[in-house]
Symmetry: C2
Subunit: 323 residues, 2 copies
């Protein structure tokens, strides 16, 4: 939950006057999103989300993120669309921060996804992968396999404060995964953070994807591996293969996975678990105790990682061989 | 900013099915309000606010608060209106908490109010006082003059941690105000917390009042005294008499103040400053360091109190004698 930057009336008025939008009717901070400040803006024509980018988002990545959703929306994918200023810009400034106005997306995120939600997510993810194919900009995955060790080194000395022996376990995982990581899978633009709170549903149908601030170029199958971790574990952290199967089926109804992608799934899923373990452990250690936003507990991703280590084949994930 | 209680999909669906509202389109936590969890609910017919009442709101006060806004809205005052369930109830339960659904009020709150906003507020406050006259329920002001000493005693031993010698200053103020407090002024239902964030404006016009969770029966002029503190001090804590005069003028365009009310203003304003100093100092001391919501700094209300102590007459507040 987050509104880090307060916006004065005069600044808001000046900001909105740059855009071809209606008269302001309502302006409310939204208690969602941990990286940026988000406001719901209602005008007499429609609703928008105003995002103020806080320090953790690199300002020179913003043209990629905003350009991408502009591109995806033009391709028919349901996602927020940046509103251009009268002079054609998507990125502006407000209250000393980079800021963007995007269209409001109807729908609610599902707190307890069922298999049918996973199927719909898989389908939408494949559509995203196809729609991104001709997007001209690229952005390397800063949180991809080559970014994990440098990230670990920023907190390695304190890792065991999170949990005894955690540092050694991460060190061993890193060595294994750097060695085993598949580096020649089909790749392109991926979302890289398709957790349930970034996927909206309306009347049971998927209504759109939001929050593209980790989007980057990486293996398509890694996007699935992230969502296997995010959608297919129960609250007791048991793995639900029915949900994973539904997600893969949904995905393959749009884009068939290759044999190499299927075989890589146990490694990719293990890597995705490590990626979230690393960022959460980093935040756990580095977030001041009196910070506005509480860091997420990293340990559930250690437990997911243990589960993936037991899985040896694509079939363990409900991913059948090609027909 | 606050969303303390998370709501599952199933619980939300079950809750909403009790009400004659449209199909759910959006559900977002709102980063406003420090006492309760607030969500914006959009349906295909209109928008609502869902409030989950957290521990600080006494459950047996809720019928008063909800009954009051129901009454005021029926009288034509612009404020959120409770939505009744199919069986006619305004109070329900969700996620283990008392919960209510109210209509969404258009408008934004003004971060830096000008004199014209103060005039509009004064007018709306007087309309509220008149509209509440025939509301059948009553609720004593738990944070009125007789509640201040018991509240102070809950943190008196630690008061000097907030600021050296604060405890002694509060003790002296309490003695003075308990003695000088005017107890026979015209009274009725007051809002008691009309700070700028509880007053919405739309296209320059006041569009409604929200957050009646401190409403109670007390002197009408005390409601003005609270808003003098909340609206008529600049960010450097200097007193802006033009804004106070505008507020009183707006009020008296609807309801004329009596001589007794006018003469009491310096004492009432000083008491209102003490009331917010007390609650903020209490929260400052008792809020755990790692709490989700940061307590407000109490000292600006000590500084307001000093200002009021220098003011000896209604005229100092821009409050002229009756014509």
């Amino acid at each position: 939950m987050a509104v880090y930057t307060d916006v004065s009336d005069e600044d808001l008025e000046r900001f909105l006057s740059q855009f071809p939008v209606g008269t302001l009717v309502s302006f409310k901070g939204i208690a969602e999103g941990v990286e940026n400040s988000n406001y719901l803006i209602a005008t007499d024509d429609r609703n928008y989300i105003l995002t103020l980018y806080e320090r953790r988002v690199a300002e020179n990545d913003l043209p990629f993120f905003l350009g991408l959703i502009d591109h995806l929306a033009a391709k028919g994918l349901s996602c927020p669309t940046p509103v251009r200023t009268h002079s054609g810009e998507v990125l502006s400034r407000l209250a000393g921060r980079p800021a963007a106005l995007v269209t409001f997306l109807d729908g609610i995120w599902v707190r307890r996804p069922k298999a049918e939600h996973c199927h719909a997510l898989g389908r939408a993810m494949a559509e995203l992968h196809l729609a991104g194919a001709d997007f001209a900009m690229t952005r390397p995955n800063a949180l991809g396999v080559d970014g994990w060790r440098p990230l670990f080194e920023t907190f390695a000395d304190d890792a065991d404060q999170v949990r005894p022996a955690l540092g050694g376990q991460i060190e061993a995982e890193l060595s294994t995964l750097e060695e085993a990581w598949p580096r020649d899978l089909a790749s392109g633009v991926i979302h890289a953070d398709l957790f349930p709170d970034n996927v909206f549903f309306k009347s049971g149908e998927l209504s759109g994807l939001i929050d593209f601030y980790f989007a980057c170029n990486d293996a398509f199958a890694y996007d699935l591996a992230v969502s296997v971790n995010a959608w297919c574990f129960e609250t007791d952290l048991s793995f639900n293969v029915t949900k994973a199967r539904a997600m893969f089926d949904g995905y393959q109804s749009v884009r068939q996975l290759t044999d190499a992608e299927r075989q890589a799934m146990p490694t990719l899923a293990r890597g995705a678990a490590l990626r979230f373990l690393l960022t959460r452990a980093h935040d756990w250690i580095h977030t001041p105790k009196d910070a506005l936003v509480k860091p997420h507990d990293p340990i559930p991703f250690l437990r997911r990682l243990w589960t993936h280590r037991e899985m040896t084949s694509a079939a363990d994930y409900g991913l059948a061989a090609a027909p």
